[in-house]
């Protein structure tokens, strides 16, 4: 990316038909620390790699609850992300007030996208410098959307954004085909594994990642969007590492660690080994 005479404001097209300011905004997303999202038919999981400005400070909040049935993980200018989260919360609340029902996730993603688009077509505005993974549950099941600063949005089975997200995407590309039938615990494990890919050697612990999940159990009750507490994340990380260190007895380690997990982990035989590396 280099400076040129068409990138001063967002309302100037380049001769090649590009809006450079929008593309630069998407660069900002790539600079943020990684986030991943993945979903099954009934559950959606978001995970983020925590980054702290210094050892003295707390880490940036990257995962926000938007409503009982939905939440976002963001990468990029987190200040923009905070403002957009507030907008999403407001949209959900207004819808729930009038209709006494949760705002369907596709319509939530669309409103966010329309808001982002406005900023690409006003000379006195700039695009939001944040990409959001919107995860939620509605009557048609669990959904995951990626909203980017350009105003585009797509639905995904699994996706990763932020710095070194390509490593996570490669991991997810190999495994996403089975996700529709994954149990919540399997989704969480894959999310953590994907985040681990982006850490590139640094050890994954519960203090450098955040995980959140939303979904509907088989009996129809909704598990609202909430962050998983650090202690449980550490337990899952530990059980993943235990399985990785003993691949010969992987099946036994899997079944014993899965019994400790809460939730419905039915098929230990059908579960692939968590680490293919």
């Amino acid at each position: 990316m280099f400076r040129n005479q068409y990138d001063t404001d967002v309302t100037t097209w380049s001769p090649a038909g590009r809006l450079f300011q929008v593309e630069y905004a998407m660069e900002a997303v790539k600079q943020g620390s990684a986030c991943v999202g993945l979903r099954s038919r009934t559950h959606a999981v978001l995970a983020a790699a925590n980054k702290a400005a210094s050892e003295l400070s707390s880490h940036q909040r990257k995962v926000f609850r938007v409503a009982d049935h939905a939440g976002v993980a963001l990468a990029g200018l987190t200040a923009d992300g905070r403002v957009l989260s507030r907008f999403l919360r407001s949209e959900c609340i207004n819808h729930a007030f009038v209709y006494d029902a949760p705002l369907p996730v596709s319509r939530l993603a669309l409103r966010l996208a329309d808001k982002a688009q406005v900023c690409t077509q006003r000379s006195w505005k700039r695009p939001y410098g944040v990409g959001l993974l919107v995860a939620g549950l509605d009557e048609s099941g669990a959904h995951l959307y990626y909203n980017c600063p350009s105003g585009n949005y797509f639905e995904y089975q699994a996706f990763a954004i932020g710095s070194r997200s390509q490593a996570a995407k490669t991991f997810l590309e190999r495994r996403f085909e089975g996700y529709n039938d994954y149990t919540p615990d399997q989704l969480i494990k894959d999310a953590l594994s994907a985040i681990k890919e982006t850490l590139q050697g640094e050890k994954l612990t519960s203090s450098n990642c955040t995980v959140a999940i939303v979904g509907r159990k088989d009996d129809g009750t909704v598990e609202p969007f909430e962050m998983i507490d650090a202690k449980r994340i550490q337990e899952i990380i530990d059980s993943m590492e235990a399985t990785e260190e003993a691949p010969a007895s992987a099946a036994e380690a899997e079944s014993s660690s899965m019994q400790e997990d809460k939730g419905t982990d039915a098929g230990t035989g059908t579960d692939a080994a968590p680490m293919d590396i």
Binding site: D100, S106, R107, E139, V222
Partner: protein, 248 residues
């Protein structure tokens, strides 16, 4: 898509001193009866609309289908009902155009109508109706039947059986005594007809032409109008002026 703009906002917002806005109803429908039964919700009304004490219109449909999952019935000012149907039309159309696998169920429509009615009441410009909203929609826990009502002051609730207008006084006691969970369609019709007959005898603004409608998972059905048999052969009705005091 947020439907909280009722037509009151289009009327001039500036009301000068001394102006009043609470209206009187002109053309009104009388009671609506509705109850949940095994397959869904059944709703019934007569097809009359009165102009004061005159039974002016005799073929008025006061129950309409809304979207794929609901029925709405209204008593009170008929023109306000028509206005409400227009709002619901806009709502269901834009919902349908999303084409995204989500659709407005009876609960959402009831909540929306409650917001509209309450907002208009707060502006002293009510929609002069009692609305009954019934429907069936597949929820996460299976088919869920819904029946509720909202009136011109925004009072709203859900129940297994609803009646508006005179039905509140004449039909509700019958429904409370005889309604059961999971009645068959035939049993539900019989119970509804019992209430309609009492209303026909005792409500001066009812007429002997009724419509029954039902909503199930298959959709809404509004049956053609029909009449009930009435009995007037009481001895007290023969020679009504016998024993009357005074004459020409």
């Amino acid at each position: 898509m947020d439907g909280s703009h009722a037509s009151g906002s289009k009327v001039a917002a500036a009301d000068g001193p001394g102006t009043q806005r609470t209206q009187y109803p002109y053309v009104t429908g009388t009671s609506i009866i509705a109850l949940k039964y095994k397959d869904g919700v059944i709703m019934a009304s007569d097809t009359g609309a009165s102009y004061g004490s005159t039974l002016r219109y005799k073929s008025v449909e006061r129950i309409k289908a809304v979207g794929k999952h609901s029925l709405i019935g209204a008593s009170g000012e008929y023109s306000d009902f028509q206005e409400i149907l227009r709002y619901l039309d806009e709502l269901t159309l834009s919902d349908h155009m999303w084409d995204d696998g989500n659709s407005l169920g009876p609960k959402e429509i009831h909540s929306y109508l409650t917001r509209v009615m309450y907002n208009r009441r707060n502006k002293f410009d009510p929609l002069w109706n009692s609305l009954v909203l019934g429907g069936v929609k597949k929820g996460p826990k299976g088919e869920e039947k819904y029946l509720g009502m909202v009136n011109m002051i925004g009072t709203h609730f859900e129940e297994n059986h609803i009646a508006t207008g005179f039905g509140n006084h004449l039909a509700i006691p019958i429904l409370r005594a005889e309604w059961r969970e999971d009645m068959t369609f035939e049993e539900a019709v019989k119970l509804v007809e019992k209430c309609l007959l009492v209303l026909l005898y005792r409500d001066r603004s009812s007429i002997n032409k009724f419509q029954i409608a039902k909503i199930t998972t298959e959709g809404a059905t509004i049956y053609p109008p029909y009449s009930l048999k009435t009995y007037w052969g009481f001895s007290a009705f023969e020679n009504p002026s016998q024993g009357a005091v005074g004459s020409w």
